[in-house]
Symmetry: C2
Subunit: 142 residues, 2 copies
C-alpha cells in the first residue's frame, strides 16, 4: 500500500517518530500485503524502490516501528524476527513443526477460567494468543 507523504507524516508524528523517505518506504512494504515478514523480506521489497538502502536501516526502523506500536512483533518461531502490520485484534495459529503462522479470529478464550491462573499484576488487557498444533502438510507426513 502506498501512502501520501502527508498521511505517513501524520502517522509518524502521532507515534513520535521523525519522518524520512526510507521510513515511509519500509512501512509501506510491511503493510503492502497481509503476512509475517522477516527483515530480509522487507529489505528485498524496499530495495526495489530504494536500491541504496542499508539492511541496518531496515532493522533499525522495524525495531522503532515495533517499539512505538506501529507494527506488531510476531514471536520468532522461525528463529528470526517477523513483523505483522495487522494491528486489529487477532490471534495466531502456529505449526509446531514447520513454524508457519496464520491469523485466526474469534473469541475463544474463557477469561473466567484463565484469570485465576494469571499471577497478580500481569496485564492481560490486550492478550494475543498463539495456538500451536500441526498444519495439514506436517500432520500428513508421518
Amino acid at each position: 500500500m502506498r501512502l501520501s507523504h502527508e498521511q505517513f507524516r501524520e502517522l509518524a508524528v502521532k507515534h513520535g517518530l521523525a519522518v524520512t523517505h526510507q521510513r515511509q518506504v519500509v512501512y509501506e512494504a510491511v503493510i503492502a500485503s497481509p503476512g509475517h515478514y522477516s527483515p530480509e523480506d522487507v529489505y528485498a521489497a524496499v530495495r526495489r524502490r530504494i536500491p541504496s538502502i542499508s539492511l541496518a536501516t531496515v532493522y533499525n526502523n522495524l525495531r522503532l516501528f515495533i517499539e512505538c506500536g506501529l507494527l506488531r512483533e510476531v514471536t520468532p518461531h522461525a528463529s528470526t524476527l517477523r513483523v505483522d502490520g495487522n494491528l486489529e485484534p487477532h490471534h495466531h495459529l502456529v505449526c509446531s513443526r514447520c513454524k508457519a503462522v496464520q491469523d485466526i479470529e474469534g473469541d475463544f478464550i474463557d477469561f473466567k477460567r484463565l484469570s485465576p491462573q494469571v499471577p497478580r499484576g500481569f496485564d492481560l488487557t490486550q492478550p494475543v494468543v498463539e495456538v500451536f498444533g500441526l498444519c495439514r502438510q506436517c500432520s500428513a507426513k508421518k
Copy 2:
C-alpha cells in the same frame, strides 16, 4: 534429577535414541528443575559433570530430544532456543516486553468457538497455547 543408567536406557530406546553418557547427562540437566533453559544454560550445567563436553554435542542432543519428543521446544521469544522438560499438558504466559515465560495450567480454551476458525487438516489434538500480556514488572514501568 539423576536417573539410573537403566532408567535412561529405557527412555532412550523407547524414543529411538542410542544411549550415551553425554546424552544422559544433558537430559538430566534439563529435567533437573522446572524452567526454560537455553542451550548455553544446559552447557554450563553439563560441564560441571563432563568438563570436556562440546557445545555442539549439547545442541545436537537437545535437537534430537526435541525431535523425538523427549523434550518440548519453547518458542524462542528471547531470540534463542529454550527447552522445557515438562511434558505435562500446560500452557505459557509470555510477557510481550521482556519475553519471560511462565507456565500456567487450566482449561481456558473454548474449542467450540476455536474449531470453526481452524483450517481443515490442522491438527489440534494437543494444543499448546501461549497467552501474551505484560508481566507485573513491565506493566509497572511506563
